[in-house]
Symmetry: C2
């Protein structure tokens, strides 16, 4: 299998390190807007980098991406950029006749009049609209296949198939106890994406209402995370799982809650109050136009570079409540990565490593023909068991806790 990886940031770099250990990969072209980042990712592989090459690409230039896919005869495009670049990369893969895989879906737009009650354009809408064309082309766009969305969706399908007869609620719950030495404030994941997720109206799905939205940070709850992380305050945020799971898995309610913690929520609220979360440019006195959210990101350390100073564990998982053999059951299916382990094993910090391992597992399932399909599919559209087994084989097992 020949892969075009677009994006050599934290997640993209971790993808190369994980894929370099697997034999399914024929060749991976590592492409980035900043060629030196792509080259650095390949160089860091050292002796195991023989199947990798670096290239420069502007992810917003659909024609250039299509040309690169064709020139390099790639079977699949793996998108590891921020979600702004989903539309051009998704289209470029279709135009080149390649499969496509991403870890975040096309962006939402709030309802113009009732943003905190009704959905406007939903996450992934722009991609699902094109499903018929992907089917017709016989190509697969596997969307939302990182850890969350991604592994969390696989857990949901697995629960429905093997653990429950009927499901009342599926709630993805994400929490961590990571700290970064020497920084007052240093998010462990892209602040651009985090702002997008957290300040957009959160979306909830209920069987009798469909999708609807709430005000930001709604329905706070304290969730007890496993493996020593402990209780963290979680709130509703907009996330792909809520848009994906109900398409393939029966449940009466689907939510996503993020363990942001009180402090982080306060920071996000203040950024919003001042207008610094905005992406539309503002004009400085000297005429320069900049997107305030880009400036926020530029003020903070690059999360991919913080691994050495980070301590703690991150947990992604899916809590499911329903009935099995007539009795109530409640489980939390989860995946924990200890930063100390991911740094030692891969030189990647926990959050980006956990995101990166899942699309590599998916690529291997596609390369070996265990997974196949056409159209625009979420991770829960495919057989969960081989995915979970292969993840364990990658040295990163998942867990199940009966509540």
């Amino acid at each position: 299998m020949r892969v075009l990886l677009v994006g050599a940031g934290g997640v993209g770099t971790a993808v190369t390190r994980i894929a370099a250990r697997r034999s399914f990969l024929g060749h991976m072209v590592v492409a980035d807007y900043d060629l030196s980042r792509a080259e650095a990712a390949v160089a860091a592989l050292g002796g195991s980098g023989g199947r990798f090459s670096a290239a420069r690409i502007d992810a917003s230039d659909r024609a250039a991406v299509t040309a690169l896919l064709e020139r390099e005869r790639c079977d699949v495009l793996l998108n590891a950029t921020d979600p702004r670049f989903v539309p051009p990369l998704f289209e470029a893969a279709l135009a080149a006749g390649a499969h496509y895989l991403d870890m975040a879906m096309s962006l939402s737009r709030p309802h113009p009049e009732r943003p905190y009650e009704e959905c406007g354009v939903k996450l992934g809408d722009a991609q699902f609209e094109r499903a018929a064309e992907w089917e017709k082309a016989g190509r697969l766009a596997l969307v939302g296949l990182g850890v969350e969305p991604g592994l969390s969706d696989v857990f949901a399908r697995y629960a429905a198939e093997e653990l429950f007869d009927s499901i009342e609620e599926i709630g993805v719950r994400d929490g961590a106890n990571l700290t970064v030495d020497g920084y007052d404030f240093a998010p462990s994941f892209s602040i651009w994406t985090t702002i997008e997720e957290c300040l957009n109206p959160p979306v909830v799905w209920e069987a009798d209402r469909g999708w609807f939205t709430t005000p930001p940070f709604s329905e706070p709850e304290v969730f007890d995370f496993p493996e020593g992380i402990g209780p963290v305050e979680c709130v509703n945020v907009e996330h792909e799982e809520v848009l994906l799971i109900p398409r393939w898995v029966d449940a009466r309610r689907v939510t996503f809650k993020y363990g942001l913690g009180e402090e982080f929520i306060r920071t996000l609220k203040e950024l919003h109050r001042v207008g610094l979360d905005r992406t539309e440019p503002v004009t400085l006195p000297d005429g320069t136009r900049v997107s305030p959210r880009d400036v926020v990101a530029a003020c903070l350390p690059d999360p991919a570079t913080l691994g050495d100073r980070m301590r703690g564990k991150t947990c992604a998982g899916t809590w499911v409540k329903g009935l099995k053999d007539g009795a109530p059951r409640e489980v939390y299916l989860y995946h924990v990565v200890d930063n100390e382990w991911s740094m030692r094993e891969y030189g990647s910090q926990a959050v980006v490593w956990q995101t990166a391992v899942n699309p590599v597992v998916a690529l291997e399932l596609l390369a070996t023909g265990v997974w196949s399909g056409s159209g625009v599919l979420g991770p829960e559209a495919l057989d969960p068991r081989p995915f979970l087994d292969l993840l364990t084989e990658y040295g990163s097992p998942w867990g199940l806790r009966e509540q």
Copy 2:
């Protein structure tokens, strides 16, 4: 008297409107980096604008400012820019043989090792260092003559001369009950300057310790402001009065506390946590370099344009505690501006109008010879009574409250 006004922002524009009603003014050149702002200020004066002209100037270009002062034969430069431009304008006036007047002094730099205990470079240090040259030239640099610093310093000198035999503490206290319709967050004064004041280590003066610093937002107290404003939480911030008053007025302690309110303090703390208060440029992905604090300012509405949506009053004043005729005495000398009044009378919002009226009063005292001197002087170096009387004559009386 011929005046070069540098800066046609909110305060500069209000200066033109106040000065246009006074006969002492011979001519005022209104100069700004953005010529259209200067032209708009002059045009807004309509029929009373005969003594005003507009010019373009880069306030950071000392030679150009000197040349403009000479070409226009100005007696005095009135600096209404932000404090970054104090050094070049102060030097340009000296080089041109003009008097100089500003409303904020040259900036401080924190102590490199013990920023929250000891002073580094203090506010105004760079100006007071040059005092001998101003004296030698027979020219006057009257520094810190807005409302705070400015009127607050005049109050301190007045209290020492007429109300007290000995003073234990002089505490400048600033509070308001202003709100801005339609905005979640819309500071009524330059956010650039507000961040500078509030996030620098606050400075305190005590007779037996001299100047020293504390952590930001220290010594919170609730101060009850007059004329219906009521109680507001005030905290120590760095301000010129603490550096000026002890040079000319005997007191055992001098402080400045700003009625920021809890919400505003929270916002400033979060901006600082993310690093958005910084002035040193950060680099965006496309290579653009911007100062985060400039971006914060660009995200917010220009406070000078908010007058129509503002409601409430702003109060500047000086609280003094000491002995008179052997008995304890405590007074608050204050000046309140109601936004509704300043908008109706001058079309200027309350905070900028209150800042602007004081340097115009000072210019009139200099033009009429009531005030004179040479060297670098603070407002408390000169006779306070004529200043306070003339302020009342301007239609904006001050008050005294016995505590």
